[in-house]
């Protein structure tokens, strides 16, 4: 047992302990106590993650170059700790294992660090809600599940965490359960995620059938047939696109904005939805054996980043704009891990966690201050009243667009450059998508900015704005936002791939980038210039349209309708899945449930009653009748014997 082991278990179990404490406390503990139990437990988890980080750091073999060996051994630098054998079936057994390696420590730090800040923010945001304790129990449980996902030492533990984050996401989207729209959104998210869980489980069954194991190491080194590998990778990809809201399983994420805003920040921006990226980085050997499937992942990401960017242009709900931008950014991460640049994908995951949580939390500050209004057409000029929120949002927006020196610049550009490094036709398609996506990002982000923050406050804002004791929000809300604004600015300086790459080297033992996806310096610089120019072009266009009104919004009713209908995905899924299912259910209810199932119970009862009322006549209550029956019965038996002889 080393610090690494203690740290990882502490990190995992602290939020679980917090959940259990709040649940056991029930209504006996005050609301604020529940809030602080949850916050403390997540910060304790962050402490554990830091402990584990230094544990791994001390084992990390310096900055050697990427070990591009054919044989992959996991963990190269890290440790698997097994608490006990959890499942045993014949010679197949699965331990309750945690894996602590460079990749999982990065994820642990993000989940517990950003998680801690967001839970702290929730104290102010959820203040006065009737079911605050339930909220904090759920959110601590979510942090536990997410940590289980990223620390899981074998594929089954990963899947358990995967399922539990889906559950906590469901519970938190539907937290305001008296709103029918929230309940519907929660169900939608759960069903679409369950689809991904199922394909992942199928992939694991194939692995068990071939290698009789769910250990990372065993399966990464196994030589499966091409078909089996392809199906395994496809199953994992199904789970990844469902969880990360990529095309074709993306429609649940915008609806998930029905949950409280801190939930959107934590689950549907910073951590859970990026789990698909983590999954591909974690199981990269399986994907590299099925390179086609890996490129399909990149293709799904490239498509999603464009489609989500286009839809974001016409959204009017402040949270939905940010939700579509989340989908779009995760699209970038998928391109990154899909082409094989795992470190770049995970680095974008890290910076995205900061600036996207920041954007959601500043949006939450606005929503909180302006009577829960989320329609950006009504919120014009709110920045005048909320200067701190305004500047923090601007930091997040610049980081999102990728303007140097903000963090998005350092993490988004290398992904696009890695696509170019492939040098193939699809590599260049991804590159073009990435650059076009940067333009769209600039456009929709600054559309939001110019519509909401600058200028003279609208009458609606004037009427409904109220501050919190003279400030823009409770200190528990402002402090995390401030910290994240600093992180969103500076976190990107951790690495600038052409010049220094400590993050890539740190991840190299766990997920070494594919040599084919390492761009040359020229490609890096060229791509950076292209992406920044595209982003700035979008920004300037947004300024010209929404601030100066020099350019009219093009009418293009067909395109506007296409974007507003979200490319008809919801419509299509309703037609293909939802409506046939409802029709089948209605048919079965009419033809089977009502005539057969519902009728069977009364039928059995009535028959019994009718038989009973016939037979009761035999019970005369007279002794002589019974004796007569007895004697007659005996006589019949005797006669039968006599005749049968």
């Amino acid at each position: 047992m080393t610090g690494l082991t203690y740290g990882s278990w502490l990190c995992l179990l602290a939020p679980l302990a917090g959940t259990i404490l709040i649940l056991l406390g029930g209504s006996r503990i005050p609301r604020l106590a529940a809030a602080w139990i949850a916050t403390t437990s997540v910060f304790v988890a962050f402490g554990g993650a830091v402990w584990a980080f230094f544990g791994v750091h001390s084992q990390h073999q310096g900055p050697e170059l990427l070990p591009l060996t054919s044989q992959v051994t996991v963990p190269a630098h890290g440790e698997i700790t097994t608490a006990w054998t959890w499942l045993q079936s014949g010679n197949f057994h699965v331990g309750l294992q945690l894996l602590v390696d460079p990749l999982s420590t990065v994820m642990m730090l993000i989940v517990s660090g950003v998680g801690g800040l967001i839970v702290l923010y929730s104290i102010g945001y959820m203040d006065g809600d009737e079911e605050e304790r339930r909220y904090f129990a759920y959110i601590a449980f979510f942090v536990f599940s997410m940590l289980l996902l990223v620390e899981g030492g074998n594929l089954l533990m990963l899947l358990v965490g995967w399922g539990l984050v889906g559950l906590s996401s469901y519970l938190l989207i539907g937290f305001w359960h008296d709103r029918p729209s929230a309940v519907r959104a929660a169900k939608k998210a759960f069903v679409m995620n369950a689809f991904g869980d199922a394909t992942m489980a199928l992939a694991f069954f194939i692995l068990i059938a071939h290698t009789n194991s769910l250990d990372f190491g065993v399966n990464f080194n196994a030589h499966l047939s091409g078909t089996a590998t392809n199906f395994v990778a496809l199953g994992l990809l199904g789970g990844a696109v469902a969880k990360s809201a990529q095309i074709p399983l993306q429609t649940w994420l915008p609806d998930a904005m029905e949950g409280p805003t801190p939930v959107s920040a934590l689950i549907h921006a910073a951590t859970m939805v990026t789990a698909g990226v983590y999954l591909i980085a974690r199981t990269y050997p399986l994907f590299e054996h099925a390179r086609t499937i890996q490129l399909i992942a990149a293709g799904a990401g490239a498509l999603t980043l464009l489609v989500a960017g286009l839809i974001a242009l016409v959204q009017t709900d402040i949270k939905r704009v940010i939700a579509y931008s989340t989908m779009s950014q995760i699209g970038y991460m998928f391109v990154g891990v899909g082409v094989g640049a795992y470190a770049n994908g995970v680095f974008h995951l890290l910076t995205h966690a900061f600036f996207k949580a920041l954007l959601f939390m500043t949006a939450g500050l606005v929503i909180h201050a302006v009577a829960n209004e989320q329609d950006i057409r009504k919120l014009r000029g709110v920045g005048r009243l909320m200067p701190f929120t305004k500047w923090c949002f601007l930091v997040g927006a610049l980081a999102l667009v990728g303007i140097p020196p903000f963090s998005g610049f350092f993490s988004k550009d290398p992904i696009v450059a890695s696509a170019a490094a492939l040098g193939t036709w699809y590599g260049w398609i991804f590159w073009v998508c990435g650059v076009a996506g940067a333009f769209l990002t600039g456009l929709y982000t600054f559309r939001l900015w110019y519509l909401v923050f600058p200028g003279e406050p609208s009458p609606f804002v004037r009427e409904h704005y109220h501050d919190h004791h003279g400030r823009e929000g409770a200190w528990t809300m402002l402090v995390p936002v401030g910290i994240l604004a600093v992180l969103a600015t500076f976190a990107g300086w951790l690495q600038w791939t052409p010049r220094w790459d400590p993050f890539t080297r740190w991840l190299a033992p766990a997920a070494p980038s594919l040599a084919a996806a390492v761009p040359t310096d020229t490609q890096e610089y060229f791509t950076s210039v292209a992406v920044v120019i595209a982003g700035l072009a979008g920004l300037v266009l947004a300024w010209a349209i929404y601030s100066e009104r020099r350019i009219a919004i093009p009418a293009a009713p067909f395109w506007r309708r296409l974007f507003e209908e979200k490319f008809y995905f919801d419509w299509l899924y309703d037609r293909i899945f939802y409506e046939p299912a409802v029709a089948t259910a209605a048919f079965l209810r009419r033809e089977f449930e009502e005539p057969v199932v519902l009728q069977t119970g009364p039928d059995v009862g009535n028959t019994t009653l009718a038989t009973g009322s016939l037979v009761r006549r035999l019970q005369t209550g007279l002794l002589r009748t019974y004796v007569l029956f007895l004697a007659a019965g005996a006589a019949i038996v005797v006669l039968a014997f006599l005749i049968a002889r």
Partner: protein, 102 residues
Amino acid sequence: MSGPDVAWYLALAAVLFGIGALGVLIRRNTLVVLLSLELMLNAGNLALIALSRHFHNGAGQIFALAVMAVAASEVCVGLGLVVALNRRNLSLDVDTLSELRG
């Protein structure tokens, strides 16, 4: 070891059994019904013992002993019921005791 043929014993047992059964069926006094039951049991006993002797097999006699034990228990219960009925000032006429009518 001679005596009447076993058929006589069996005939007597049958007659006794018939009388007992008839008594159970037609008499209305509870005590007489119990008495008739005893008669039926003992008719059975007589047949068992006669055949035991005829076949030189002791098992029948053991059966007869067991039947006697059962008869004794049955009389205990039956007479207990009669006493209980009497204490409650209920009629001993079996035809009036028909509350279990369905």
